[in-house]
């Protein structure tokens, strides 16, 4: 069952990723990238991380559609809606992306991953939240209120620094 879901999604994610560079239209390339992200979101759900996977789908739909609007708006040709190549500096881009792929891929294969201790947590969403935010919740709240301009920026950064030091030592 897992394999039957994994392989179609994995192939779809990779294939639509490739198609981003094969299409000759900004709109098609953006939607193709969106399809790739949606398939990746499905794979994350398959890992048992429902919250992360669904949020990935939610954010990527909005992000890609807004990106489509901006990409089309900023193209040099009329409105970015006529045919154009999606690639430039092909050799340089190929070299860079091959290097990065080998680097990241070898990291994934060669790293010594920790073994799972105990069973799955009953609520991975809650565990993820406390792992991400747990000790830093106060920092995030103060950083958030820094953006409301009432406080002078220097005070904000000082307070954030103090809280971070405090939570790191506690």
């Amino acid at each position: 069952m897992t394999a039957a879901v994994f392989w179609p999604l994995a192939v779809l994610a990779a294939a639509s990723g490739v198609m981003v560079f094969r299409f000759s239209s900004m709109a098609r390339a953006t939607i193709s990238l969106l399809v790739s992200f949606l398939a990746a979101g499905g794979l994350v759900i398959l890992l048992g991380l429902g919250y992360l996977g669904v949020v990935l789908i939610l954010m990527m739909v909005m992000e890609m559609i807004i990106m489509a609007v901006f990409m089309i708006a900023y193209m040099m040709n009329p409105a970015g809606l006529i045919q154009m190549s999606m690639v430039h500096n092909q050799r340089g881009a190929l070299a860079i992306s091959a290097t990065v792929f080998v680097f990241l891929g070898s990291g994934a294969v060669l790293a010594t991953w920790p073994h799972q201790a105990g069973g799955r947590p009953s609520d991975p969403t809650f565990q993820l939240g406390s792992a991400l935010m747990g000790t830093q919740m106060l920092t995030m709240i103060i950083l958030g209120s820094c953006s409301s301009r009432r406080w002078s920026a220097r005070w904000c950064w000082r307070l954030t620094g103090a809280v971070m030091t405090g939570s790191a030592t506690s």
Binding site: I31, Y51, V54, M62, I65
Partner: protein, 240 residues
């Protein structure tokens, strides 16, 4: 184009109908949000697809409308989830045993209903398919294509009305008749209000609604979420 009705059906997956739910996933509220957002892609593509000016403008109008309605909607959903301390729709229903969420989250409920109009581009938010654009996203469509898109917007409206029931109106709770009947009755009541209001409310331009949403509705829904969080905190994790 197909994405619009598909979004409506997928969003409805997590709505409990009495005790019966198509999917009991733990993050039902986020799922509903994500599936409703698929309309952004579906409608922008439907506007871009025919390669015609008026329908493309209609697609862009929906994206602008999306930027306006989406964040207040997210805070409204967060408010209901915070009240129940869960993203699971069934647990949100059971947290309303004593007091329906609509009673102490009226702002979130109103914002949610406005967002239902907005993501199904009906009533006051029919601007992406406006008559001033000769139909906007619908301008170039005919036959089965048009039917699919029109069915999609009504499916989304119905899914939104159905989701309002477990989030704010106590789900299947009610006397005498069984829970599934109460779910159906409440959904039909919300739908009737939405359809009745949709024919009477004036159209809202996206640029004006963006201003209202970001200046008034986002602070309002954040204050509502804060009030709910403080109540839950004061009661040691229990809703009203």
């Amino acid at each position: 184009m197909l994405a619009v009705p598909v979004a409506g059906v997928l969003a409805a997956l997590v709505i409990p109908f009495g005790a019966v739910t198509a999917s009991r996933m733990s993050v039902g509220v986020v799922w509903f949000n994500a599936m409703e957002v698929l309309t952004w892609a579906g409608l922008w593509m439907a506007g871009w697809g025919p390669d015609a000016v008026l329908s493309l403008i209609g697609g862009y109008r929906f994206v602008a409308q999306g930027l306006a309605y989406q964040l207040p909607l997210m805070f409204a959903l967060i408010t209901a989830a915070a009240g129940a301390q869960s993203l699971n729709v069934a647990q949100i229903v059971s947290a309303q045993r004593h007091v329906w969420f609509v009673v102490w989250m009226p702002a979130a409920f109103a914002v949610f209903l406005a967002a239902v109009y907005a993501f199904s581009f009906l009533g006051p938010f029919a601007y992406p398919a406006g008559r001033d654009l000769a139909g906007g996203v619908l301008a170039e469509l005919s036959g089965a294509d048009r039917l699919v898109l029109l069915a999609g917007r009504w499916l989304l409206l119905t899914a939104g009305a159905g989701m309002a029931v477990p989030l704010f109106l106590g789900g299947g709770a009610g006397p005498v008749v069984p829970a599934w009947a109460w779910s159906a009755l409440k959904t039909l009541a919300v739908l009737a209000v939405l359809v009745w209001g949709g024919a009477r409310l004036p159209a809202v331009r996206a640029d004006r609604y963006v201003e209202l949403a970001w200046v008034v509705l986002i602070p309002l829904t954040i204050a509502q979420a804060l009030a709910v969080a403080l109540v839950v905190l004061a009661r040691g994790g229990a809703p009203l």
